[in-house]
């Protein structure tokens, strides 16, 4: 029976310590989701409210700019049960939070350090090279600025 929304995506974290096989094994049993395209102003409370609709949340970890230590537009949501995370992938992924379409994907599990953006300037990589103006994500991309 098809369940494409809950399948693994093509994305694999390049910084993952371990083999591809290890990573995929963790992704398949993970209860943690990566959430992207958030506004810098979206709060933990909003994320809790929205993602709470698919089940009880164990933890929300906000993604931070490595330098400024402020929110930089992504987070991790960990559920107690994988089934609840699957429902988030089916029904919350691709819908709006703070008027932005957010994207969720399976995550192999939070480790200290992964809450920081990996872009040169401290935020996410995608905000380094972005050409467009996005008021919710600090305006123009860093290279443009």
């Amino acid at each position: 029976r098809s369940d494409s929304y809950a399948d693994l995506s093509q994305y694999r974290d390049q910084h993952f310590r371990g083999t591809r096989y290890d990573q995929e094994r963790l992704l398949r049993k993970s209860c943690t989701l990566y959430v992207g395209n958030l506004s810098f102003y979206t709060t933990e409370e909003q994320i809790h409210e929205l993602f709470g609709k698919s089940g009880d949340i164990k933890k929300v970890i906000m993604g931070l700019d490595k330098v400024k230590k402020t929110a930089c537009g992504f987070c991790f949501v960990e559920y107690y049960a994988r089934g609840d995370a699957e429902n988030a992938m089916r029904y919350i992924n691709g819908t709006r939070l703070d008027d932005r379409i957010i994207r969720t994907d399976w995550d192999a599990g939070f480790k200290e350090g992964r809450q920081y953006g990996r872009g040169r300037s401290g935020g996410q990589v995608r905000d380094e090279y972005r050409q467009d103006y996005d008021a919710g994500r600090g305006g123009y991309g860093k290279t443009v600025q």
Binding site: Q46, H48, S54, N87
Partner: protein, 779 residues
Amino acid sequence: GQPHKRRRTSEPSEIEERLEALLCRRNSSLESNLEGLAGVLEADLPNYKSKILRILCTVARLLPEKLTVYTTLVGLLNARNYNFGGEFVEAMIRQLKECLKVNMYNEAVHLVRFLSDLVNCHVIAAPSMVAMFENFVSVTQEEDVPQVRCDWYVFVFLSSLPWVGKELYEKKDAEMDRLLSQTESYLKRRQKIHVPMLQVWTADKPHPQEEYLDCLWSQIQKLKKDRWQERHILRPYLAFDSILCEALQHNLPPFTPPPHTEDSVYPMPRVIFRMFDYTDDPEGPVMPGSHSVERFVIEENLHCIIKSHWKERKTCAAQLLSYPGNNKIPLNYHIVEVIFAELFQLPSPPHIEVMYTTLLIELCKLQPGSLPQVLAQATEMLYMRLDSMNTTCVDRFINWFSHHLSNFQFRWSWEDWSDCLTQDLEKPKPKFVKEVLEKCMRLSYHQRIIDIVPASFSVLSPANPVCIYKYGDESNRSLPGYTVALCLTIAIKNKASNDEIFSILKDVPNPNQDDDDDEGFTFNPLKIEVFVQTLLHLAAKSFSHSFSALAKFHEVFKTLAESDEGKLHILRVVYEVWKNHPQMIAVLVDKMIRTQIVDCAAVANWIFSSELAHDFTRFYIWEILHSTIRKMNKHVLKIHKELEETKARLARQHKRRDSDDDDDDDDRSSDREDGPLEEQIERLQEKVESAQSEQKNLFLVIFQRFIMLLTEHLVRCETGGIDVFTPWYKSCIERLQQIFLQHHQIIQQYMVTLENLLFTAELDHHILAVFQQFCALQA
């Protein structure tokens, strides 16, 4: 006839693909697809017969919305290969028996319907189908069986008639008349105490909320009056009549319904949800009437589509919108009605609530010119009827509407609802708007909500979710504990340890005692107040900050919460600090239960306490209570699972030992191996019993408090000569119903205790009625 092509046989995987593709090929007609596929499958039979049987049986069970397509296919195969037809019927009967054995009643309905449509395809002889139905209906004569058992057998008979009624009546009218008359007398004598508990609205206007069997009976009676003419169902077999009528038919083997056992769990009764009729879309095609069989078939098929595709929202939306008959029926209205029927279904929706929100959004994306308007019309209608809507359904309406709005920039014509501003704020309409705005705020932020509503709505706007710290101002310095609060603040900011906190708190006098206990830690409300207020205030920045604070000072919390009074007081203080931010209260209570600072019973007692009376009808209170009950239930399940797993491990260990134990007679070594596992099992057994006892106690506490509260109200009304039915009362009694409905499986275990201890005959009949309705649900 079709030219004979060279028949090549398929690869196994191709068979499945072909069956799936059967429905999707657009470049050729369904009839030619069916004919082609029948030919290919016939050629495959020598090699893949069991696989083909299996796939077709599965399709019959899981794709009921495409039933007539597959019955036609089976009909064509039977015409070409009589033995295959016979084997398929046997396989279906086996599958039916299996389903009934394991309580898969909903799937069994689809199987029986499939079998009955096979009569139309000349695979099964009509008289043998009638005989099966005779056996089904005779279940109503059984004694000492639950009504829900008889209900199901009657339902499965009646609900097959739209497909096969005509054919059966033509062949066996006397028998059918007898069956119908037996059914009618059963329906007349069955009890319907459960119905009020399952109705979405308490009012009968504009549409009565009919019990599902009553509605179906009316529909079948009308069908009979129309001489079984049914025009909505797509019947591909009609095009193949000349081939099919040449086929030899099979007789169904005599089928005895399996007897009722203790493990049998029959489907719950339902109430048919209707919100639209032909007056709601005057421009478009006419909506079939509520007692027309077309209405039944359309609704069945749409529900089946959702059941098949609920995990794939885009596919689900596309399948719903491509339901055949699009221009003859107001499909958008049917779809919206069926979706709300599921969302508002009592006791629970068939699928997770958030699925319906996202499905409706997908539908709006696919039909941007028409569906949003229907949805807006539906919302308006639901709003208009809030006064009689069941409180649980109002909860779901609030959740759906606020989440939906958050995907559309909160755009809504709020002024259209200004009528609610002149009403008492406890009335359903203003209450609904207030709760919606609060939920909208949770998904955005306070200022946003102020901006999106007209100024006149400010009375319904949510409070700014800020923390209230009683020791915050210099002007509060006369409050007892003020100086300790200051000390604590500085200490915590300087990363004090739990021990340092304890020593600071030692100085707090106990207003309840003349002299301090030597231990210093009997229930001291002031100590709790000062510590919890200060800590929560310092950690107010975000949920994460508060959670860290709870974790860091867990030891202090545990000590302060040692007594039941301590637990209750902690909850009180949390409320005092965060009463503007119900979401924060909910997550803190959740965390405190999970870290065992408070227990579930303390939360239940707190919710019914007088301090919370003012907020008693607010949605967040019930979210907290039900979340608490769910945590308790999950906890019991978890330990039970651990116990079962450990028992299984022990069994495996024994088995392993027994199998390779020929030489080793050393019993002591095997005992040693068993020892730790057996010990573990004993410990887990105790843990399970204690958890189950805690769970039962929680429900008893909740029911007890409800009874006290409701009785108080009823007595007050009686002596004061005022009407019992206030908004508060409606809300409270429906909240009691909600407890029964949402946790009915667990509560079933306590029936004897509830009957003997709490819901006794002396109770006011208003309250007792709720219990009796609940008992009637599985009676």
